[in-house]
Symmetry: C2
Subunit: 250 residues, 2 copies
């Protein structure tokens, strides 16, 4: 037996998120079905990040165990032959049998994309959140600065998550503009449930002038979800990369 | 009666192109249906560019005549309330009753997007052509230089088009790379049937090393469609803008 780690990219538009659930097709079950058919054994993947319905990913990670004699690094090319075009395995590699990317220290990068002009762009609609109110990126940057570092992010965590602590470290939080596209790029060791989307929703309130940038610091201090902005829509979010720190393989 | 010009953006993925046809939904008929319902009279739009099935647009133009008392500039906001999310009117304005953007001198800009990396990106798949062979952008630029200017583009015109002359002027043809995305941007006064897609297919042959850049000049001289590269897939193409030269309105 060997353990294989798969780097997987997907367009979340037509999926009910990563995790298997009774009412709708998910990324996890689609991977299981195609890997099981390819490897001729029941395969169950275990993901590093259980992205929500509609969220996209360029570099999510998962592992699975298999008896196959197909070399680990060839599995991604083989499974791509049958996977639907909105899920593409980017890499496959053998890892130690006890390795799991969710339990390993890593730096995760998410991007939240906003499309900011008076009328929507149909070609961008599936991968960005359309905002017609003019946004001030400089204000968003000033608000973002309050959130960088180790903080209790309880205000930026949706109810229903069960975690021991709501303290997390944000390594960087950048806001970039390129024409009508505004990209919020955040890196951290880990994120609470809906944390990136609530941060995006909060920065958008600041960008539109509804709140002052200093409000971001007050929201942190409040430790209350009701103090923060709304959860921005899923389709603007993309899990860009999970970079493992000194992994036990090359 | 007044004539209204509509600037329209659309995601061509789910349409059989612009022009009304018996077997499939088109942009033209969708606009007719929604404008007729809004204005409570039969509306027939007439387009500046009849884009092919699967081709996208950010700034196609069309005109229609109407008896409505709704101000011309408000029609785009009103019709967007009922249009599907993959078609968005960007602007509406009154123009002279005898004005037609297809008959007026203009500068058209198209972009052809290629996604060039070893494995496809599912999030880019609907709006770019995936090419896994590494492409040399510098070679593509050298080939592109042969096509700028006034030339007989018969080699870059699909059979079946009925035009008086195949001489056209390309004002600029730029090839830009940003990470795995390669964008071919072309401006001209007008283009032959499939001309931009055949130019893209030809530049890709040069970029992959199959042809030398100088081949582009030989293809022009051959005046034979069989000499050029293949017609690149529709989904990579987007009609960016039709800029009217000194239009008779502001």
């Amino acid at each position: 037996m060997k353990r294989v780690m798969l780097t997987v990219a997907y367009d979340g538009t037509n999926y009910c998120g990563w995790q298997i659930q009774p009412n709708g097709i998910t990324i996890e079950e689609t991977l299981n079905r195609h890997l099981s058919r390819l490897l001729r054994e029941p395969v169950r993947v275990s993901g590093a990040s259980r992205t929500d319905a509609g969220v996209h990913a360029l570099g999510n990670l998962c592992v699975f165990d298999t008896e196959t004699r197909i070399p680990a690094e060839k599995i991604c090319y083989a499974v791509n032959q049958s996977l639907p075009p909105d899920i593409v395995a980017q890499k496959s590699q053998e890892v130690p049998l006890d390795f799991h990317p969710r339990k390993w220290e890593s730096v995760k990068t998410y991007e939240y994309t906003v499309y900011n002009q008076p009328l929507p762009n149909p070609v961008a609609r599936l991968y960005s959140y359309f905002v017609y109110r003019p946004l001030d990126v400089e204000r968003m940057r000033r608000a973002a600065a309050f959130l960088v570092g180790e903080h209790d992010f309880q205000s930026f965590c949706s109810a229903g998550s069960q975690v021991e602590t709501t303290v997390r470290t944000v390594y960087s939080l950048e806001v970039d503009q390129e024409g009508p596209r505004i990209r919020i790029r955040i890196t951290g060791s880990g994120f609470l449930y809906n944390m990136v989307r609530i941060i995006a929703g909060t920065l958008l309130r600041v960008g539109s002038g509804f709140w002052e940038p200093e409000k971001a610091g007050e929201i942190l201090a409040a430790r209350d979800r009701a103090a923060a902005g709304p959860t921005a829509p899923a389709k603007g979010l993309c899990l860009m990369e999970i970079r493992l720190k000194n992994p036990p393989f090359s």
